[in-house]
């Protein structure tokens, strides 16, 4: 496959996994948790690097997933000892992110791990870091990891579809019929951090937040059905990956920045023209009511 093809494939895989996880984030009103986790993943990666002294995909995946879970636990704990939920998120992620940045700036800074990379990702390097996969041949490492994460996310979302639906819309009822709500919460947090870290390495922290929240929020304006929302959200993710890439090539600028901006364009369009929940539909409804 060509260079452009690999980049588009990588970004589309990010769009697909983030789109699926994002829907659940929006419905559970935990969008800012994604903001927090996508930042603290950095610390997980740095610590994994300090411990193993190598930049391999698997170690980072483990380190970052652990960091994500630690973030979720810490936020929960501070909330329990009396800090407001919002403030607790703000304290935990800024502190852990700051530690990560300081470690990079003082200790482990090198060509592979620098501070800028963490924000913008290095999607342009992805097609060159290939590994040999049986049956498929030479494939960029990031694509392999993202494919694996997508399969994991897809498995969890499909296999526990009913449980996600219940725990997202009516957690009290879900608990009353014996669904382990807390366990589901931490499974979900692990999914968020797994997705974040895989995407983080490819496209950077900011793009992860954009891909997690914005396509799902746009899909939320189009439909009331959960499965439809999942499909739309992933499609919007892929669409913004393509729009962002060609936009960035055209303007000669940051690819992941442009992809994040493209999710915003899709949201803005949905915000205007979505049937029923869009602005124009709403204005028309008010007019009809006035007539």
């Amino acid at each position: 496959m060509s260079y452009t093809g690999w980049i588009l494939l990588t970004a589309s895989l990010v769009g697909l996994s983030c789109g699926l996880v994002g829907v659940l984030l929006i419905l559970r009103r935990m969008a800012m948790m994604a903001d927090a986790i996508s930042h603290t993943v950095l610390l997980g990666i740095v610590v994994a690097y300090l411990v193993t002294q190598q930049l391999s995909g698997v170690h980072m995946l483990i380190g970052a997933t652990v960091a994500g879970l630690v973030t979720a636990l810490l936020i929960q704990w501070f909330h329990q000892v009396g800090v407001q939920q919002e403030a607790s998120i703000g304290i935990v992620f800024t502190t852990l992110f700051a530690i990560g940045v300081i470690l990079i700036a003082t200790k482990v800074g090198n060509a592979h791990l620098d501070v800028k990379h963490t924000l913008m990702g290095e999607i342009t390097f992805i097609p060159w870091e290939k590994v040999n996969v049986p049956l498929l041949g030479e494939i960029p490492e990031a694509v392999v990891i993202l494919l694996f994460v997508l399969l994991v996310v897809l498995f969890f979302v499909v296999a526990f579809y009913k449980e996600w639906k219940l725990t997202s819309f009516d957690p009290i009822f879900a608990a009353s019929i014996g669904i382990p709500v807390t366990l589901m919460h931490y499974v979900f947090m692990s999914l968020v951090s797994l997705t974040s870290v895989a995407a983080f390495d490819a496209v950077g922290a900011i793009m992860v937040i954009a891909m997690l929240i914005t396509p799902a929020a746009a899909a939320y304006l189009w439909t009331d059905k959960l499965y439809m929302m999942l499909i739309l959200s992933s499609l919007f993710g892929v669409l913004s990956a393509f729009m962002g890439y060609y936009g960035a090539v055209w303007l000669d600028t940051s690819i992941s920045g442009a992809m994040a901006f493209a999710t915003g364009i899709i949201f803005a369009i949905s915000f205007l023209i979505a049937p029923r929940y869009g602005i124009i539909a709403k204005c028309r409804k008010i007019q009809v009511a006035q007539d």
């Binding site: 403030a87 703000g90 700036a105 900011i206 997690l212 960035a248």
Partner: protein
């Protein structure tokens, strides 16, 4: 500690002290409004404005860049309230959208500027993680004045803030306009963010607004004391962080300020005299002991 620093470094320390104080004050207001993460969103949203200001001016023109930052942060705030009031998208999602999309735009513009001839030396990257050492003395004096203005606004309107935050219905009854107070609050918040982004950076600016206020809550219940203490903690973290970051070359300032603030938070959480973990633990032990004593007494009485 201060004496051996250069003239410029002393000014930088003074400015981060004032900045910390100002954000400690505004952070307290945000905490009580339950809007801690709004400050995070708005500081991310300021980035495209900074770069746009640079593009318009064609050089590193501080006032123009700060005005740009203020405009894009206010635009972000307005979009969030528009999205949440006119669709079913909730506030947290709206904040996530604005934060990431604005920041993405900022990165696009930043990359574009860095690829322009001579753009790489503009030092615009410093706005992401903060680099207090990059501030020249003219910027610093401006920042000091603006921070002092913020401190004065909060101090002079103390009674109004208190009414506005704790009993807005009563405040309205007294003829205080809630809309105006909200507008002033947003304006002051954006002002603090704008003056803070050069020293602390857009990503970590929120920490300086959130952490001092939360830490102060563990020492006292009185609103006035929380304000004063939060300002003190903010100022101290600003100065400490800046000082430590000057010890190494190229160390970013923002992360060190955040670490200073969160160390103070950990100390407050553990040893705070009001609801600190240690105090709560001792109180619980004490209560348990009393319950046991009371039970024993009852048993003795029944025995008689």
């Amino acid at each position: 500690m201060i004496g051996f620093l250069s003239y410029n470094a002393q000014w930088v320390l003074l400015s981060t002290l004032l900045l910390g104080m100002a954000s400690g004050l505004i952070g307290t207001l945000s905490y009580w409004k339950r809007q801690s993460l709004m400050s995070d969103t708005l500081s991310h949203a300021a980035l495209p404005g900074v770069i746009f200001g640079f593009l318009v001016a064609g050089s590193k023109n501080m006032p123009l860049m700060l005005i740009g930052a203020a405009i894009s942060a206010l635009l972000g705030a307005w979009l969030i309230s528009w999205i949440t009031s006119s669709t079913r998208v909730k506030e947290d999602a709206a904040m996530g959208i604005i934060l990431s999309v604005f920041f993405g735009l900022g990165i696009m513009l930043l990359t574009y500027v860095n690829r322009m001839p001579g753009g790489g030396q503009s030092g615009l990257d410093n706005f992401i993680f903060g680099q207090a050492a990059s501030m020249v003395s003219n910027d610093v004096k401006w920042l000091c004045v603006l921070a002092a203005v913020v401190i004065c606004i909060v101090g002079l309107l103390y009674k109004e803030w208190k009414l506005f935050l704790f009993d807005s219905a009563f405040a309205q009854g007294l003829g205080l306009s809630i809309r105006w107070m909200n507008a002033i609050y947003t304006a002051v918040l954006v002002l603090v963010i704008v003056i803070g982004i050069q020293a602390v950076g857009v990503i970590l600016m929120a920490a300086l607004l959130i952490i001092p206020a939360v830490s102060a809550r563990y020492w006292t219940q009185s609103f006035r004391l929380v304000l004063i203490l939060s300002a003190a903690i903010g100022g101290l973290s600003g100065m400490l962080g800046t000082f430590v970051s000057t010890l190494g070359s190229g160390w970013p300032t923002g992360p060190f300020i955040v670490i200073a603030a969160s160390s103070i938070f950990i100390v407050s959480l553990t040893f705070g005299t009001s609801k600190g973990l240690l105090v709560v633990y001792i109180q619980r032990q004490h209560q348990r002991k009393q319950v046991i004593i009371a039970a024993q007494q009852r048993r003795v009485e029944r025995g008689q």
